[in-house]
Symmetry: C2
Subunit: 208 residues, 2 copies
Amino acid sequence: MKSLNRPTLERLLLYYHFIDHHLVAEDGSTVSSTRIAKFMDLDDTQVRKDLAAIGLRGRPRVGFVISEVKSRIRNILGFEEDYRAVVVGAGRLGGAIASYSEFRVYGLDIVALFDNHPDKIGRTIGNHVVQPVSQLQTIVKQSKVRLGVITVPAEAAQDVAEKLVQSGIKALWNFSPKNLVVPKTVTVRDEHLSVGLADLLYHLKRSD
Amino acid sequence: MKSLNRPTLERLLLYYHFIDHHLVAEDGSTVSSTRIAKFMDLDDTQVRKDLAAIGLRGRPRVGFVISEVKSRIRNILGFEEDYRAVVVGAGRLGGAIASYSEFRVYGLDIVALFDNHPDKIGRTIGNHVVQPVSQLQTIVKQSKVRLGVITVPAEAAQDVAEKLVQSGIKALWNFSPKNLVVPKTVTVRDEHLSVGLADLLYHLKRSD
DNA sequence: TAGATTGTTAATCGATTAACAATC
DNA sequence: TAGATTGTTAATCGATTAACAATC
């Protein structure tokens, strides 16, 4: 199976959400590619191609077994593994992410929340006691943390990224509006909210 | 000028960020498409095409005037207009967005923050006093609010969306993991953090 | 001038859609 | 059986890249 590009990955997740929210997976019940496609406003061939790409086979006149589709997508996207993560930056956004229980569904296990501000250290947010950044490296190594979530202000982001990389972290989820410089072996996902906002404003400007 | 698709829009914003963070716009100084492309890891023709698409002309041997590029992108993306917005849902995420001053740069003016929980109403978050959702329609109409940001839990999202649409709002920025059903005249941008997370986990799973 | 960089046309590439025989 | 739905091949479409003459 060749590696999936981002659009395919995105679509797979959206299929999963559709199935999870709108369909019942019991008793070998099925769903057709046409139905998924219609809900998603996609071509049905697209859906079949995506499902074929992750090794799923449907049956003519019947469609795809819902439970198989669900578990295969979970498996491909890696939801069944356990991913330990730390959140650095205990502001509102960091707090929101650290206490967002929905992410558990995807296998995310946030083991610690860090900040450097004396007012924040020791406070409890969600289930986490905020710890000083000086503890970061120890905890990351100890708990074999693989993912670092960066929710500090832009000016602190690069420094935090370097600390995380030095501790052996392999992936960064970056919420700061800053381009991080890291070794090629580290995967970075930039979550620039401004992209979404710009998109919205562009359409708004033209919709009047 | 034909309307720009999302990738073009995204790239324009990233060019803007690059220029804004790394270059000086004074004295008619210039930047070449090659330089932008290199930083972005793109083809230089791509950059020239994007800039041409928004009416910018460069000069051979010289490049593009930085200040022109900046102001033209701001103009195209609509950053120079004023977009009044309300945030519904005063949890950690809603609070983060309502108090995130960076968005002002894009022309976003958050005029009110709503919640329905008695504990939250009346509290101050950022510069906003949390108001009850019952006030929503009045304030939206009064202040000619055009954008609604939804940061309530999934089960409340559709209801909030409907209230916003009824008040005359034209665009929704949806942070809840819920598919909103709204009239076609309303632009919806879904900010599903799970897409970013899934992408990251997919790569993490395969990087060991 | 020489050469860096543009703007544009043509070629390539990949992703999406259409067509349709196979199947249950 | 008839017909809905699949899987796959071929056609289309659009976006990206290459090539290169024009230009300052």
